[in-house]
Symmetry: C2
Subunit: 200 residues, 2 copies
């Protein structure tokens, strides 16, 4: 599917065929697409939890306002990030670059994040947003629908998926075969309100 077409055709779909499951190859294609998304300093700190176990899905649904797509979609993804990725053997993010590039960039990573808790957290949210959009557009191109979700109890989901202390959850995406179209767009802002020329 053409990229601009996928961007327009993608909508948040809430109702899915519960009998449909993605193949292993499709799941891999989806995450390999996600892994093409950019991260600052190439730290690739996103961690994608692919929830296929129906029991885990049921537990998550119970702490996600009982939303049907959590159990009924073909795949549920919890988009997490390792907020300490920048200090975990950072050399490996640049191991294939020319030595002078490595020598310059690798030490700069620590210099940028060290002691800046909010910057670290912002980066996690931004990077998972970038990767999440890639996932939803790739899904659309593969013939699937999706639904981004942040209406759930984050702490409860963290417990269910056994989230490490130094990781955080950004949002979830359900992916599958939609059975009902989305509502018409409910209230689009004007171009003029959203796009600002040069300065506010």
């Amino acid at each position: 599917m053409n990229t601009l077409e996928a961007i327009t055709a993608r909508r948040a779909i809430k109702h899915y065929d519960p009998t449909h499951r993605l193949t292993e190859a499709e799941i891999r294609q989806l995450f390999e697409a996600a892994m093409q998304s950019p991260t600052a300093f190439n730290i690739q700190h996103w961690r994608f939890v692919a929830v296929t176990d129906p029991e885990v899905r049921k537990q998550i649904r119970a702490v996600a306002w009982d939303q049907a797509q959590v159990t009924d979609a073909s795949l549920l993804i919890v988009l997490c990030a390792d907020k300490d990725a920048w200090k975990k053997d950072a050399g490996r993010y640049w191991k294939d670059a020319p030595q002078p590039v490595q020598d310059f960039l690798v030490p700069a990573i620590g210099g940028y994040y060290e002691g800046r808790e909010q910057v670290q957290r912002d980066e996690c949210m931004r990077s998972t947003g970038l990767a999440g959009m890639t996932i939803m557009l790739a899904a659309k191109a593969m013939g699937y629908d999706s639904c981004p979700m942040d209406g759930f109890d984050f702490d409860a989901v963290a417990k269910i998926i056994n989230l490490p202390e130094d990781h955080l959850i950004s949002f979830m995406i359900a992916v599958g075969k939609g059975t009902q179209p989305a509502w018409p767009k409910p209230g689009q802002l004007s171009y003029e309100e959203v796009v600002i020329a040069n300065t506010f």
Copy 2:
């Protein structure tokens, strides 16, 4: 361009043809694509500052480690968000929905964000990440390259673009005609490190 192809072909490009400018129609197409990106509760809180004025570009470059793409790319976008958008006449985000949907959803918006500063900020970062990926993939499909950037002095750029007090900056994207290919990927993590089955 095919979506999966655009996802793979997009790379962060640093060198641009400084004589090339996007047309008004192309700029509009890019932002209309961006505006298709999802936001929680449809609050559409992203604000895209399209910097075309060479003088403003020069000022931003001076506080962005003198990176050439800031002035040389065809377009520089500062991705901002209005962190109070959820409480600014929230009814308009659902004005075209059926009345029962409006009655249920509009009050829920305040209930979700009220008094939750970190949640509000996380949402800004996530939404601008989602929109930013749309911009970069749309640009690729339109024949352009892009470069996401968060290496700059955020406070200084906020001053230059006259950012309102209740807005924040998430990151910047340069868009234009690339003149040099990207480096080969410098150190990709393995699929197994990034994709987790069911629980950590």
